[in-house]
Symmetry: C2
Subunit: 902 residues, 2 copies
């Protein structure tokens, strides 16, 4: 049997269904599904995604057997509709639309009204009894065909239309007379001939095949490729092509076209939401030349149609188990459905819709969990604009929503100013033509970033997301005068120092400083708002409690202070996966002791200073343990190189030079500085990241680790004595060989046993290690003979596996990302092929020698959903992330468990 | 059948042979072998190495069945000798000696005359007719038993002997009368009782078992453990114990004892070499209390014995196929062989002996290759002392020969002075009590290092070897007065600034500055001496030509200049494995262009400077290709971060501060400096090793790579046009992903095709990559889809796999090595468990996708024999090392091939 390439949907036959997204694309599968359940769908057929790769392989040519199969289905369509393609009297018109598995802007989209030519135009006019309508259809066809199939700049056509309307003093397309339309058609045909070098094809089959080919070709255009790269869509999926009977929303005032959403995509509220236009075709709604109406208005204007639409979309929501985003057309009061799919929504809406659907008994809890993008939960925690204030503000423009969040501040036009103003405590928005690596500090000092050029992968967008800074980019209307220190946008002139607000989730740029406030959920977590007073908090916790029922991995927090620990606990942390003890050292009252310790020349002197630090550390740990209510607390021993606690070499050199130049070279102070400089020089390193730090400090200065172990166990034993449960896990950083770990473990266990004995209590504890050096991963079998747990330090592991310093690499990594050399920043999401391979190896080898080895992750990747999925798949016991990422991690961990069980 | 633990050797029965070194240790196996081929070996038995682990497992106790088996063999020995152990009249005396598979200083060595007590003493006196002899044997037994078995400090016994001799005005042991010896014995017994808390055991079996146990115990003493660690001897080998009939070199003037070598161990000349002492026991030869005689003197004094010894040792050399190091004793003109083994020798001797043995048809070429330690070839290339001059110089003392080589210079006592004097162009020897990490710079500035304390693993020894600096350490007699700036040694006072010479291969410290000269081989290679005029050069090349016949891997050189390449070629390099193009940039006339290129703000400006650099690079490559005569030349594209070519940030800051302080802050010069500083700041990195370098430069600044590719291919094409064969291999550094490599390859291939077309020639070339980032190794299958060859950059690979910067790690790596946490420095020899595992993985994965993938190594490990062995085993095609290491690599590559074929 020959392979099947084309699938029909219509009254006479439906060959596809919604499960066939791989083959028919999302649009094709859903059209077939709707046709299958009896909804009013104009009949048509879908050319499968398999044809896409065949087409591209053949050098952008349709295989003959596919052409034949298309023609067979065209005949079927003619039979079902009783019209003929290219017929002089009763011509069949079709639309051609792309449709990949995943929604994919950037590809060729739609050509309507195919099948019209100078002859069939007359047939359509006669049959419809409306020559103006037929002419309108024809000029639309030529315009779309020119733009989409022949790639002639759209604005050439728009220019003609604009001129004609100006000439005739017409404001709305619908006012164009037949004569004007005929004029336009003639001009359009000339554009085609001039720009493409061929006349507009009169052969309707040629039109059809050219349009189909254009769709397939567009799969590989640069915009589509970039989109796939950013969204991790495989290049070999391919797109399908839908050929469908035309229905006409532009067939008079009883006709209309529109798009809608079964629930409010911003708030999640259950209400029919969307817009429609009377007497219009699809692109008019989006084009913005006419202002569409709220879909609810249809209830008054076309009550029967509204009722039918309402029923059908309810049915669709129930059928699909999710809120739907749909397209429809009304032709002479008859409703046709042209598309349905799960719609995009805000994080808040996603949570509310998912929970509501369960409570309306439309879906199960498990299905609800799969409806929410874990990363979207982050939106619920970001500061938000006060909605009332925002609605009052003037919107200047809309750019690309590159990095979510609300930001407001004074406009500055250079990174230097951003840094200076920021240092003065001002809140600024950095406005640039585009940003470059030189702007990193300026971006960091700003509340948000606005750029005129660049897309979703531009420097500002990538770095903004990386920094968690709201960013609106590619705001094309922005006219910047850096010299004059002002910009123009939306008809306004905004000078340096004037306030604007940007909404990185919507892309809006607004005039004035709109107040932001912490999200409700944060206010509840911090005890500023009662849980019962926040509806969204209720939804949020309900969804996460369902996630907790499902997920296999536990979720811990990285927390260095009791305050962090308390927030983490409130967000549902089941323990602490990483406490960086050095953060405790930087506090003002302790730093002198640290410095004294570092500058000591003998072990004896070092111990004196360490004795002074002990009570501070003990208190830190005491409160940390308390805040975690008996959950495990993983404490990492000292990690950073000692010189981090001392002044910088170059600053000392300059200071000494200044003293000397001012004739005070003999001052006692200078001698002191010189001595300090000598020590700083001795400790300074070319590559501190690869230097004397981590367990290497502990091996060479065991007294430091002894002090830390003593502080940990004295705090723990004291709590046990007071009747509080404690479970300390001591974690050794940066080991590369089991020998280093064994050395440190011996010291820690010795202190632990001594302290436990002294306090006369019972205390369980474990000693484990970070896996953050490739060699530790490679030799994990040996390491596991000694270590009782592993925790992947994926920040350092990524640095060493790639040989890239995260700080220094920003410049070229950004180049890699914007030039398509890499698709992901490995410091954001686990690099599965490289770092991930080593992680897998380490888990397998480690468990070979210690089957019950507990393994977690505490790098920044622990809060990244894709990385969490990977961690689950390689069998990790827990992920540990920042307190604010815990909700994300709880949901992601649940989703991957559900995926696995499917 | 019970397991056998004890093996007899004697006339009646020989149970072992030389193949049984694992079980009987080297000494035991060779004693059995000699007994087996009918040589005069005193009978005895060997307790196997299996007992060693049983003994240690049982908490230092001999298993009962072993004790029984020992007693059975003791009976056999009694039968064969006709004497009885502990017998009053005709007592059997035995020696107990350790003997592991590999010679192992640090273990308990020897106890002689076991079986003597107050009663058997009388029997021995009566039977021998020499009471003085019997007393001498007894006092020796008590002394050795006290020292070796009971671990009583040796000097306590020596002190008594010294006092007694002084009291009686005696200089030589042999002058001690019976009365004196009886006195000494009484005092010795008191020492034992006082120090050990037990009397000297009168029970002879107790003596025997205690001595045997002491040998086994000593396997695990710290010195032995350290020795094993440094010499890579597995801890579970264990030692054997040899119990053997005593023969007496101290039985009057017809008796003697000595050690010898069948060939001169320094020069390799064929001559009986060694020393002997009449009327003495073994330890006297070594102790230095009496001056031994040259073994050749025996020809006059004991002609029959000398003839017999000469015959026997010739036979042994032939039998073993190697020059032998032997021990013997003569009792009343009768010769006994006590040990034979392959003797230690200098590199020069090793080469000559190996070649001579082949030419004497005693061994095959393959066997000869296995006789020479590849690393020892290095000695043949080091500068040497002028032998005449050295023989005239006064030897002050002998310390431990910690790091080979000849060094002479002025004495300094601190690292600061070493650096200061060194900067003044003086040659200095750094003399310290011991060195510490603070001395690194001082050591580096010195010709050689001499220390008073510390062993073969001390800081000075380890670092000296690491730096290739001659070092003599642990020179115990050295009395240092750092304040007074002098030292005393060998009765001389040597002040700062006075000259000494040290021979790191012999441990000698000599007065005055002995001239050194380049080795003959270097002089030949550099064309300063004719090959025919150097005997050692002839030997050297002969041996290496045999190695070339055998080895599978080829050997290349790392060479950056035509001069390097010529030397490498003379040493037998079969190509260049690494040319670092950046070294060419640092030359004075080019640096301004490099700086200009780096400071350029546009690509256009950068290209202008690159155009100026092009002719220089083209000339470099032209000459390099020429020097390699058509062998492959691997050229690495630019690797170091650009800021390496600019001044240091802190220096600029100080300079600017000085300008400003002197009131010249407005000078044009300051503005320039400030602009430069700004750029230096922008380029400066926290961790340059992990920063913007390697292919990352090439990806972000493709114009640099274009220039380099153009220079390479223009040079190559020009040579082809001139009729010279050229084979360039372009190597991309620091890739972590195939995408980076593909980007660079595309640029290089494009330029190559353009240039080849322009020159109208045919030229083969390949484009490959360094594997020096863990991720490149992990994803080697993907990388090999694009790369035509791999070259392991084990320096950076070791840095990234361990997460250790080689420069910064020196301090703690040294701590690790001296504290036994690591046994090897991974920057010296490939870390097989970690780095090696990744290399293996990369070779396998790479060849999976490209079966004929050429793989080499160009890190420093390419010149390390153990690493070369490993490279062969994982299937590398070549190793590349410095020109001077090529002989080492040729031999090592041959040895591993032979090993494999065995």
């Amino acid at each position: 049997m020959n392979k099947k390439y084309v699938y029909f949907f219509g009254k006479s036959n439906v060959e596809g269904n919604r499960e066939m997204r791989d083959l028919l694309g999302g649009k094709g599968a859903n059209l077939a599904e709707m046709a299958g359940i009896g909804l009013p769908v104009p009949p048509g057929f879908t050319i499968s995604t398999d044809v896409c790769s065949l087409f591209l392989e053949k050098g952008n040519k349709l295989p003959l057997e596919v052409e034949k199969e298309i023609l067979t289905h065209l005949e079927n369509l003619e039979k079902e509709t009783g019209r003929k393609f290219g017929d002089n009297n009763n011509p069949l018109l079709v639309s051609v639309r792309s449709g990949a598995k995943f929604s994919m802007p950037g590809m060729m989209d739609t050509v309507l009204n195919l099948g019209l030519n100078d002859i069939t135009l007359k047939g359509l006019a006669a049959k419809s009894g409306d020559r103006r309508f037929a002419l309108d259809c024809f000029r639309r066809l030529i315009q779309m065909f020119g733009d989409v199939v022949l790639e002639i700049p759209k604005k050439k056509f728009e220019e003609i239309l604009r001129k004609k309307k100006a000439e005739k003093n017409i404001y709305v397309d619908t006012e164009m007379t037949q004569e004007i339309l005929e004029d336009v058609i003639t001009s359009y045909k000339n554009i085609i001939k001039d720009a493409a070098g061929i006349p507009f094809p009169q052969d309707v089959k040629e039109q059809l095949f050219m349009a189909i080919s254009a769709v397939f070709s567009s799969w590989d255009n640069p915009r589509a490729k970039t989109y796939r790269r950013i969204n991790h869509i495989p290049d070999d999926l391919g797109t399908a092509v839908n050929v469908q009977l035309m229905v006409f929303g532009n067939f008079g005032e009883d006709s209309a076209t529109g798009v809608g959403f079964t629930r409010n995509p911003a708030s999640g509220k259950k209400e029919l939401f969307g817009e429609y236009l009377r007497n219009a075709q699809g692109e008019d709604v989006v084009a913005g030349t006419r202002t569409p109406l709220q879909i609810k208005k249809m209830a008054d204007r076309m009550p029967e149609v509204y009722k039918e639409l309402s029923d059908i979309t309810s049915k669709l929501e129930k059928h699909y188990g999710d809120a739907q985003d749909f397209e429809f057309t009304v032709q002479e009061k008859k409703l046709y459905m042209l598309q349905t799919r799960s719609g995009k929504r805000t994080g808040q809406a996603a949570v509310k819709i998912a929970v509501d659907l369960v409570e309306e008994e439309l879906i199960s809890k498990e299905e609800a969990l799969m409806l929410v993008d874990p990363q979207a939960l982050d939106q619920l925690l970001h500061p938000v604009f006060d909605i009332d204030e925002k609605s009052k503000a003037e919107e200047l423009a809309k750019g690309l929503a590159a990095s979510p969040g609300a930001a407001a501040g004074q406009v500055v036009f250079s990174s230097e100013e951003a840094v200076t103003w920021g240092a003065e405590g001002k809140q600024v928005i950095l406005v640039r033509e585009e940003t470059s690596p030189d702007d990193i500090h300026g971006m960091s000092a700003s509340q948000g970033i606005l750029t005129a050029t660049g897309g979703m992968t531009s420097h500002a967008a990538v770095v903004g997301r990386q920094m968690g800074k709201p960013a609106v980019v590619g705001c094309g209307d922005l006219v910047l005068d850096e010299e004059g220190k002002y910009f123009q946008l939306g008809g306004k002139k905004v000078k340096e120092g004037e306030a604007i607000s940007i909404d990185g989730a919507s892309g809006q740029v607004l005039l004035g400083e709109i107040k932001t406030k912490p999200s409700e959920i944060i206010r509840v977590v911090k005890g500023e708002l009662k849980p019962d007073d926040s509806e969204i908090y209720q939804y949020f916790t309900k969804l996460l409690s369902w996630a907790d029922e499902v997920r296999r991995m536990s979720v811990r927090a990285n927390a260095d202070t009791p305050e962090d620990a308390e927030i983490a606990f409130a967000f549902g942390a089941e323990g602490i996966g990483l406490t960086r003890t050095e953060h405790m050292f930087f506090e003002k009252e302790r730093l002198p002791f640290i410095k004294g310790m570092i500058l000591s020349e003998t072990e004896e002197d070092r111990r004196k200073y360490l004795d002074k630090l002990l009570p501070f550390q003990r208190k830190d740990f005491f409160e940390l343990f308390k805040a975690m209510h008996g959950n495990p607390v993983t404490i990492r021993t000292l990690d950073p190189p000692l010189h981090e606690f001392l002044p910088k070499k170059e600053d000392l050199m300059v200071e000494i030079t200044e003293f000397k130049a001012s004739g005070r070279g003999d001052d006692k102070k200078v001698k002191e500085l010189e001595k300090l400089l000598e020590r700083v020089r001795a400790l300074s390193e070319f590559n501190p990241m690869l230097g004397h730090r981590g367990c290497r400090l502990g091996v060479t200065f065991p007294e430091i680790i002894e002090m830390q172990a003593k502080a940990i166990f004295e705090a723990a034993c004291q709590l046990v004595k007071e009747g509080t449960k404690v479970f300390p896990e001591i974690m050794v950083p940066l080991i590369g060989s089991v020998e280093e770990f064994a050395d440190q473990k011996k010291i820690i266990v010795k202190i632990a046993e001594d302290v436990i004995k002294k306090y006369e209590v019972e205390l369980d504890y474990t000693v484990g290690t970070m896996i953050e050096i490739p060699r530790a991963a490679i030799t994990a079998d040996k390491v596991a003979e000694e270590a009782e747990f592993f925790s992947f330090g994926t920040n350092d592991l990524t640095q060493t596996v790639f040989g890239i310093s995260r700080d220094d690499g920003a410049a070229f990594i950004n180049h890699y990302l914007t030039h398509g050399i890499w698709t992901d920043n490995p410091f954001t999401t686990v690099d599965v092929e490289g770092v991930g391979e080593l992680m897998k190896w380490a888990v397998e080898k480690g468990r070979k020698n210690r089957p019950n080895l507990k393994v977690g992750i505490c790098g920044v990747h622990g809060g990244d959903p894709r990385s969490i999925f990977f961690c689950h798949k390689i069998g990790l016991n827990y992920v540990s992330c920042s307190a604010y990422q815990i909700p994300i991690a709880r949901l992601a961990a649940a989703q991957v468990t559900l995926q696995e069980n499917q």
